[in-house]
Symmetry: C2
Subunit: 468 residues, 2 copies
Amino acid sequence: MKLSKDNFSEWYNTVLEEMDIIDLRYPVKGMPVYKGWGFGIMKRAFGILEDLLEKHAHEPMLFPLLIPEDNLRKEGEHIKGFEEQVLWASALNPEEGERKLAIRPTSETAIHPMLAYWIRTHADLPFKMHQTVCVYRYETKATKPLIRGREVFWNEAHTAHAGKEDCERQIKEAVEIYKEFFKSLCIPFKLVQRPEHDKFAGADYSIAFDMLMPDGKALQGGTVHNLGENFAKVYGLTYDDEKGEKKFLHQTSYGISMRALALLIAIHGDDKGLVLPPFVAPIQVIVIPVFFGEKEPVIAECRKVLQELKDKGVRVKIDARDMRPGEKYYYWEGRGVPFRVEIGPKDIEKKQVVLVNRLGEKTVVPQEEVSDRILSSFVHLTEKLRGRAEAEQKTRTKTAKDLEEAKALMEKGGLVELGWCESEECAEKIAEATGAELRGTIWGGKEHKEKCAVCGKDGKLAIVAKAY
Amino acid sequence: MKLSKDNFSEWYNTVLEEMDIIDLRYPVKGMPVYKGWGFGIMKRAFGILEDLLEKHAHEPMLFPLLIPEDNLRKEGEHIKGFEEQVLWASALNPEEGERKLAIRPTSETAIHPMLAYWIRTHADLPFKMHQTVCVYRYETKATKPLIRGREVFWNEAHTAHAGKEDCERQIKEAVEIYKEFFKSLCIPFKLVQRPEHDKFAGADYSIAFDMLMPDGKALQGGTVHNLGENFAKVYGLTYDDEKGEKKFLHQTSYGISMRALALLIAIHGDDKGLVLPPFVAPIQVIVIPVFFGEKEPVIAECRKVLQELKDKGVRVKIDARDMRPGEKYYYWEGRGVPFRVEIGPKDIEKKQVVLVNRLGEKTVVPQEEVSDRILSSFVHLTEKLRGRAEAEQKTRTKTAKDLEEAKALMEKGGLVELGWCESEECAEKIAEATGAELRGTIWGGKEHKEKCAVCGKDGKLAIVAKAY
């Protein structure tokens, strides 16, 4: 089937299916199977995230899937956020006195009660953990693969702090970690503080990474929540400060889901299929023997290059299938493999290989330089992909002076910036006028003051977009 | 608290709690929390396993947690194996027509039905995948941390093959992968084929890795199942062979659970606490500044060594806490960190460091050789731990001529080898006489023929042990 990214929705579904990302035919709604290539990419992306978190002293932990009902219900605002969507677990013959058990919709209510055992004094703080698990919500809205489902693969981090200041510092650290993560995936973003009426249930405030999808809609790719003392008060989580006084913990939580995979696919892909940044590709280099006559010497040469690359830690494979080289190029381009090495009899004669990157840039490389050249090409391609994606986002982000201009700009899709006073009333008027959502105010860096495009009062620069 | 491994059960529980392995106070029975140090070890161990599987062409995948009831029930023998223990998931307001959903007790019934979409001809075979997930069983027996629980962290592999022969080859490959895995964890084992009455529900036969625990009891550390055509017939899984004829798939599955962590702890630990093989230790080297006066020059020297080790890929940390060096030694020995580097003013003067491994072997190393020496010491310590564990297993494995001798040997615990004719009747008599379990016949290598210790008929050498 001929792919065309101009029809993004069709392109996306076709790529998911044909490139072995997921299989939607699993017989439970909103729960696809992650196939080898798709999970291979996701595993590497989340590996990068986990390494970053652990470098910043987040301990890897694993909390149980099931949460007793009374713990889940304790934070009243929190449970209201998704009560209807909770899945419950039960045994055929439960033991006497067994409490009702929820399948985790998110893990605050599993983790926080345990902190009462672990944190006594300021010396036990900060507390920082992360886990990579699935969370479950019985979504009744239409599900969309890797974007909205009933089983959400994600990494969630949870922290606790002595005092508001250290908690704010942690929010900044979390944002920096996520920035670094998305940078390594070559995915540009806008950082916004979500409107009061759209923050995480139980949080003081929520910061979100909003990404621009090819169809002009915004997708939330990650969130960072300042929970303040809200959960600590509910679960009675205190510590003794330096004067020996009992204080409530300040807490944060933040997460990035399988949407990172959706973004990787959507943002970098082209009419040939996937385009993978080298550091997340399950196979970084595919070596393709080009035969005209005797096979063995060509294969032997390919093996030599393979071994050399392996020794440098490159994820590399030979495709020695009985197919024409052109078919193999097509196959591996579709899967987004960043580099292809072609070796034929002529190349062997000239002691060279042909190196082609996924963007079609072709160079002839002396054989003895092949591994060094590929390693430096990883950086080059990564920067190129990042630059391309950033340029695209920049082109499709416009600033509007007033509602009318915002409406006109919104018709073309993309992100529209305009002033907003932070009232829910004006947010509704903006949404009504533009047919889009007010995503929040721009977060970080200098203050972005701006008069409200609706009421003219003092406000901040905000982002409006149609959203997933 | 003073640890003594002579009282193994108390030692084990104390180590789990004090060394931040798990916390049993989570309010759901049989579902402890994995804490940072414990999950850090497990993550690394399973990382080694995943790398081995992927090196042998198993694709990483992820199947949903929930399995429709009709799929689960299709293989009649299989479901009988754990029907009472299945946990079921339900929403508050399920959508119309939603089938009853089981929380996966194991994944055959999730995975196999999908193979009908993926496998058409012999060219699609072999199929090999693995996933690291938790499985759930509502155990009614007493649970034991990391050994028997209601939430079991594990890695499971599933394969499909054209023909019996390739399936048998896969069984051997699986056994080799697991051997390699346990070798890297320095954990010795006995390979046995489980008796017919004790095989995996739905399998043709099951091979198990049995390990000897310090209390003299056996623990099953991993299993490999030949499923034959049993599941393929139930789910209608066929492929076209080279002649275009429809044939049923031959299948295998194999898994290793969090018991690998229990074994690491139990087999290597000593009266000081954990002893970790270098390749699974979250921290491989702890650098401890020893002050007598000025702190800054000592810390600076420690940082230099830290950076040098980091550059070589070593997981290393400085402990600069305000405590006496002796307290720090005690702390990190308890957690099993394989190497300690001590640096004091005298060492700086002499351009040397003091290197101490977890077994107490102390050497003075010239500063410029420190990273090379540590890397080679990793191999030395690994071999030492492996040798020690193997010697222990060998000492505690005895051969009995008859039931009487088996009984006498069994009183001291350990593994007892004796002849068995493979009948369930004689197995029961052996169990009765020895107060232990017949674990199965020795698998692999040369044939171990032996007359049955009960009936005298032709049989094989089998292993008897008390078991977890």
